[in-house]
């Protein structure tokens, strides 16, 4: 225990003495959390639509005004030829083309049905997806109104109908920030911990101080613990600042138990720091450690479910995600902060992360060789 006390004293001194790093580690995440959630906005408004109205009827006009007044769409092209509209898609000036065929109104009334064509610029996946969803929704509504007008109520009554009452839980206003903030905070905490830990031991190697440590009778696990604890504290500080930003700026207050949240983050930090230290023990230079950590960080972030959901991934990718600590943190952060999930709900994730923590730190201790 005494040894650990001296190690901690030393590590904390070094951290606090290096003001530049300390300031960056604290300030950078806060700034990013202030800015990035506003940029990471999938809330799809302003979908650019080009409409080709070949019918010029009162129905087609009504449909068009319904679309443009919905708030989702911006009319960027009107009554071009299909070729011209396609050009707009090519230049990224339109995301969707709606083509209303000639005879739309007549066919709808006389022949009881009419097709309508939507072309989606699928390069922009999300916009394409949601734009299509919104547009079909609007057309359906319009269809309902038309039907009400055309069908005598008596006859209409005989058809069956189902009222669908849909509700959005945990985020009734479908606020995208609410979704992104916990995820981005998770990434920031991971980066702070991971990068600092990865650089630390290897820095001692590069500078040469590790020699002086290795020739002392210090226990390997003491040394690793001495590295782990300061960054663990720092990680928790960054996390706390993040929660404060989330509360002050985005009005996000964890629905679930805050102690549970901290407990999970604490265990998680042990895991990610262990991973960083493990990389550190494998490397000879800081540059190398940084680069390797960067590689894993990139994979972790992209596959962590921050931007795209893990559910939709193919099986092999889902299997890979099982080994991605970041994906558990993002998931649990959203669960506790947004849904108020309890201890039992996150037990599986907590168990896995605890296992990661044990494996990574154990491996780091094993791989840190005092004797070559």
């Amino acid at each position: 225990m005494r040894t650990i006390r001296f190690l901690l004293q030393k590590e904390f001194r070094q951290i606090f003495r290096n003001r530049a790093i300390l300031a960056m580690v604290i300030v950078m995440p806060v700034i990013q959390l202030l800015i990035l959630p506003m940029a990471a906005n999938y809330e799809v408004k302003n979908i650019n639509i080009a409409i080709i109205d070949n019918d010029h009827s009162s129905y087609s006009q009504k449909l068009i005004s319904k679309i443009t007044s919905s708030g989702y769409f911006k009319l960027t092209g009107y009554n071009f030829s299909f070729k011209e509209a396609f050009r707009l898609i090519e230049t990224d000036d339109a995301d969707l083309i709606l083509e209303i065929p000639r005879g739309f109104e007549r066919n709808l009334v006389r022949e009881n049905g009419q097709k309508i064509f939507i072309a989606v610029n699928a390069i922009n996946g999300t916009k394409a997806n949601l734009g299509g969803v919104y547009l079909t929704g609007i057309i359906k509504d319009f269809n309902g109104e038309v039907r009400l007008q055309l069908v005598p109520p008596a006859k209409f009554d005989r058809t069956l109908s189902i009222d669908i009452a849909s509700s959005n839980w945990f985020n009734p206003f479908l606020d995208y920030h609410v979704f992104m903030v916990p995820g981005i905070l998770a990434i920031l905490v991971t980066m702070v911990g991971g990068f600092l830990a990865a650089l630390n031991i290897v820095k001692e190697k590069e500078v040469g101080t590790i020699e002086q440590i290795n020739v002392t009778p210090i226990k390997k696990h003491h040394f690793i613990l001495g590295k782990l604890i300061p960054f663990w504290v720092l990680g928790n500080v960054v996390f706390t600042l993040g929660l404060i930003v989330a509360w002050l700026i985005y009005r996000i207050i964890p629905v679930g138990n805050i102690f549970l949240l901290y407990s999970f983050v604490s265990v998680y930090l042990l895991a990610v720091l262990g991973f960083g230290l493990l990389i550190s023990t494998f490397c000879e230079t800081q540059q190398q450690a940084m680069f390797i950590m960067f590689f894993f960080m990139m994979v972790f972030i992209l596959m962590g479910g921050l931007f795209t959901s893990i559910d939709s991934m193919p099986d092999w990718a889902k299997a890979v995600s099982q080994f991605n600590p970041v994906s558990y943190l993002i998931e649990v952060m959203r669960m506790i902060i947004l849904k108020g999930s309890g201890f039992k709900d996150i037990l599986r994730q907590l168990g896995i992360i605890a296992l990661f923590a044990v494996v990574f730190n154990g491996w780091a201790i094993f791989n840190y060789k005092k004797t070559s």
Binding site: G113, K115, A122, L150, L160, Q287, M290, F294, D345
Partner: protein, 383 residues
């Protein structure tokens, strides 16, 4: 030939020779570090694979729960239809609302469909029944999409039920996906990955390798030699320029042969623009190295400070026009944004230089600006 000219010639010749010696030294440094090299060349490959085959914006296989309080023919028919959809996986059969809530909190379902008791009866005799659809809107887009899918299935069912097979006066939208029907978006992410990889690799590697020389004191030695400071810096950048061009080539090869995404425009133009972008990134790295004095600071700035902003502001994951105006302005100073536009134009649209001269000009401007600022503060440090 007069004498001073010959002397000048000799000095120039010497400088060139020194320059090539220094570049060789840098190359040896880079090539000796196998782990870094592996990552350097492996990274673009892994990223292309992840983006190409793992990530998708499409929503499918969403786990949902069905709370069937009716347990009658109509509800059974609808449940079978929902279960058959590729969008949903109905593993969960929940018994009551309590269980459903738990399932949401556990994160094991994304959506729940609730059939009221007497669903069949109400539908057939009162001609109208209700269904409750609850979505986990902690992921808002997912919730919207899933709700609309379920609604569509219910309406299809209803249409089939209404004897004629169709509700009267029905408008049926036909959706066609242009470019890539699977919504894979390769044409979107390949340029994005190029921008991301080049940006981070070039910036970090140059910044760190220069700061490292400062930290270990070898920079002093280089600077007191007859070598021009600019050449010292340039010799550090050249190896990374070349390695990055190899990366560009490997990404393009992968894109053409693995993702079937051809380069529609001129390949030489693409390489020329990539070289420009790489130089921009290298100067950014130099700029960071001039302003910092420890490797760790340089690394944290070039990675932690730039990883997420580059992903977000280059526009390849999130449309820039959706951002608040202030952020749209910020995105203008991110070089990756301009390069992303350029690559997309050349690769996908097959555009020529006349379509991208503006972006090219902006990138060049950023490069020149960074270079001037770095050289200025470099000189200040020396004196």
């Amino acid at each position: 030939m007069n004498w001073p000219a010959a002397q000048n010639e000799a000095i120039k010749h010497l400088a060139m020779k020194q320059f090539s010696i220094f570049i060789k030294k840098e190359f040896t440094h880079v090539l000796r570090d196998r782990k870094t090299l592996l990552i350097l060349f492996g990274m673009p490959v892994v990223q292309i694979l992840i983006f190409g085959f793992a990530l998708t914006n499409e929503v499918k296989n969403a786990r949902i729960a069905i709370l069937d309080q009716a347990n009658d023919p109509a509800s059974h028919q609808l449940i079978t239809k929902i279960a058959a959809s590729k969008y949903f996986e109905t593993e969960q059969a929940v018994m009551n609302r309590r269980q459903m809530e738990d399932a949401f909190k556990r994160g094991s379902i994304r959506l729940a469909v609730i059939f009221p008791a007497n669903f069949n009866n109400e539908l057939l005799h009162q001609h109208n029944a209700g269904i409750q659809v609850i979505a986990d809107a902690s992921d808002p887009n997912n919730a919207t999409t899933l709700t609309s899918y379920v609604t569509a299935i219910i309406q299809d069912y209803l249409a089939a039920l209404n004897k004629t097979g169709q509700t009267p006066y029905r408008i049926s939208p036909e959706i066609r996906m242009l470019y890539n029907p699977q919504l894979k978006g390769a044409s979107n992410f390949v340029p994005g990955v190029m921008a991301l990889v080049l940006m981070l690799v070039c910036v970090m590697m140059t910044a760190v390798s220069i700061v490292k020389e400062k930290e270990t004191g070898t920079m002093e030695i280089l600077l007191v030699s007859s070598f021009k400071p600019l050449l010292v810096i340039a010799s550090k950048a050249v190896p990374y320029l070349m390695l990055s061009l190899v990366n560009v080539a490997s990404i393009l090869l992968l894109s053409v042969f693995v993702l079937d995404l051809p380069v529609n425009g001129n390949v030489f133009l693409l390489f020329a623009e990539s070289t420009l972008f790489i130089i921009t990134c290298l100067t950014l790295g130099i700029f960071i190295s001039v302003k910092t004095s420890s490797q760790q600071v340089a690394m944290l700035i070039s990675l932690m400070g730039m990883l997420l902003p580059t992903i977000l502001f280059s526009g390849f994951m999130f449309p820039i026009e959706n951002m608040p105006v202030a952020l749209q302005l910020i995105s203008n100073i991110i070089p990756a944004k301009w390069y992303y536009i350029i690559v997309k134009a050349i690769m996908i649209k097959g555009s020529g230089f006349n379509a991208i001269w503006k972006e090219t000009l902006i990138l060049s401007g950023i490069t020149v600006f960074l270079l001037i600022v770095s050289l200025k503060s470099f000189k200040i440090r020396l004196s």
